[in-house]
């Protein structure tokens, strides 16, 4: 328990005493928000996952694409 508390305090003190790092964390959080909330959610859905429920259907679809491509 004491070890966990020490690790927690180590990180807490580290974040508190940051100078340049604070601005960087703001950039990191904005970037992660854009990537995971905007891009991933609205633009980058898993193509096969969103169309098919199981691996057999995914496999059949890719087989069709490879043997008879109609793009």
């Amino acid at each position: 328990m004491k070890t966990i508390k020490n690790i927690f305090n180590f990180y807490l003190d580290g974040f508190r005493n940051m100078t340049v790092g604070k601005n960087l964390w703001i950039i990191i959080l904005i970037k992660l928000f854009i990537m995971f909330v905007i891009l991933k959610l609205f633009f980058f859905q898993d193509f096969l996952g969103s169309k098919f429920n199981n691996n057999q259907d995914k496999s059949d679809y890719v087989m069709e694409q490879l043997t008879n491509p109609k793009k």
Partner: protein, 519 residues
């Protein structure tokens, strides 16, 4: 080329290239500067000289800025695999999944733990523990690159797998075969060593700025000493691994090799074009056509580079397209026919399964395990998507120039490190303003060189995503190209903003200099 939407293929390629090139602006500095930091901190721990602690902390702050801005930019590439390249992702899933999963886990645990100790641990953990964390951050970030490059190496030279028609997937048959793929080993070493040069040039360049400003001269000279020695050592190792890489490419990707040297017609005692200007793209059948308007060629060197024999025959683009019986080279025309046989077998398998014809399914499943079929037909599966062999030639000008830019700049960096170390040794560096300017302006050239390396690696292997097995056009998802255009624009804006942020924060921090301290 069948019914492919080439606009979709081109936009998907452009988007992937954009994100990969931007991602690679951040990565090489991280790979290299962490080792430079570890060396600087080792000197501090060994000597106890506080100047070295100050030096380490300054460069550590710049590393932190680069790391923070660049972190997770690679994840976007994984988004693209799932959305834009679903055929590819499914086809290679089993081979690609394992290295990427290991990379993700290693990167997360090593980086989150040891980077935290590196930045937050000054005066909180012992000097030796802190030093160990710095070394482990360097090793951890480089091991992350290892797994990505193992996956990439497999795409360039697919070995250690079997194709399962039942799942339409490549399945791992030999993990160590994939791991020790000669293409991957050379690629990993060449990539990390050249990244170390980028980091060394970065440290030398910024230190030169301090010399130009006549500020923190001792700090700048000490930084240059470490970085220039580091850069020189890895310049030599980069040449060695580049040489090995070229030999491997000549063997497993002869078209890429011919393209990067602009070799249209194969020959024995093949010359290495040290420098040249391509006149035109003579893939048409005209033996009289000139390849180069100007060229500086060294006879026999290309043969030696490829096969360690100055008399060896190096196939040119024409030989690969039309074949060369004397040298046992199968033509692309023949490979297209063999690929079509393999694809027909897969189509028959699909139809037999649909019809419930178990005997035929069993026979075709056995065929996909038959060595003769695998070696002589399935090995050329990807060629089946082409009718015209000239569509299987990468852009020769892009391949040629990117390769030669990379090599020429690599030579420039090595000479620069030698000159800088010489004048540092003579204690004249602080007075040589012209050299300081060269050092400073070499920084963008280091990025140009490393990006050019990726351009030759990736453009040079076109039209393949998996060499000989899956062409780029068959790998894309059947999605609307408009959405790819929109996300291309979004990425361009986001990544450019990140790059501007990085440069601005870094410039501000550099102006503060090494005496401010703090992260």
């Amino acid at each position: 080329m069948e019914n492919f939407d080439l606009s979709l293929v081109d936009w998907s390629r452009a988007q992937f290239a954009l994100t990969a090139l931007y991602h690679w602006l951040f990565v090489p500095l991280t790979l290299g500067i962490t080792f430079i930091l570890a060396i600087m901190e080792s000197i501090y721990v060994r000597t106890g000289d506080p100047e070295w602690k100050k030096i380490t902390k300054f460069w550590m702050t710049l590393f932190g800025i680069n790391f923070a801005i660049g972190v997770a930019t690679g994840i976007i590439l994984e988004f693209e695999f799932g959305t834009n390249w679903s055929n590819y992702s499914w086809f290679v899933g089993d081979i690609f999944g394992a290295p990427l999963a290991i990379e993700g886990i290693m990167a997360f645990f090593m980086e989150s733990t040891f980077i935290a100790i590196m930045f937050f641990g000054w005066n909180k953990v012992s000097k030796k523990t802190h030093l160990m964390a710095t070394w482990l951050t360097a090793i951890g970030s480089n091991l992350s690159a290892l797994w990505i490059l193992v996956a990439n190496g497999w795409m360039q030279n697919p070995i250690g797998m079997i194709f399962n028609p039942e799942t339409t997937r490549m399945e791992m048959a030999d993990f160590w075969g994939v791991f020790f793929n000669p293409n991957a080993v050379n690629k990993f070493l060449h990539t990390i060593y050249s990244s170390y040069i980028v980091a060394a040039v970065f440290v030398v360049g910024i230190s030169a700025w301090f010399l130009l400003k006549k500020r923190d001269v001792i700090f700048a000279k000490k930084s240059i000493l470490v970085a220039a020695i580091f850069g020189l050592v890895f310049s030599l190792l980069t040449i060695m691994t580049g040489d090995e890489s070229a030999r491997e490419v000549a063997k497993s990707q002869p078209m890429k090799f011919a393209s990067m040297e602009g070799l249209y017609y194969g020959t024995t005692n093949a010359p290495l074009v040290a420098a040249g200007i391509l006149e035109n793209d003579p893939v048409k059948e005209n033996p009289e056509k000139k390849d180069f308007a100007v060229e500086l060629a060294v006879p026999g060197v290309l043969s030696y580079m490829a096969f360690l024999d100055t008399k060896a025959f190096v196939p040119g683009i024409h030989d690969l397209v039309h074949g060369n019986k004397e040298h046992g080279i199968i033509s692309y025309f023949d490979k297209i026919e063999r690929g079509k046989v393999a694809r027909q077998a897969l189509t028959d398998f699909k139809n037999a399964r649909k019809d419930g014809d178990k005997a035929k399914v069993a026979a075709l499943t056995a065929k996909f395990k038959d060595k003769d079929f695998l070696d002589n037909y399935f090995a050329y599966f990807g060629y089946s998507y082409f009718d015209n062999p000239h569509d299987i030639i990468p852009s020769v000008p892009i391949s040629f120039y990117s390769f030669h830019i990379m090599v020429a700049l690599g030579g420039h960096f090595m000479i620069l490190f030698i000159v800088v170390l010489f004048f540092l040794y003579k204690d004249k560096l602080a007075q040589m303003r012209w050299l300081q300017w060269v050092m400073l302006w070499t920084m963008p050239l280091a990025y140009l060189a490393t990006e050019s390396g990726w351009v030759i690696a990736e453009v040079g292997r076109q039209p393949w995503v998996v060499q000989d097995l899956l062409p780029t056009m068959a790998a894309v998802s059947n999605i609307d190209s408009t959405s790819v255009m929109i996300t291309f624009a979004l990425f361009f804006v986001v990544f450019t903003a990140l790059l501007i942020a990085e440069i601005k924060i870094m410039l501000k921090q550099i102006q503060f200099g090494p005496n401010t301290g703090g992260h």
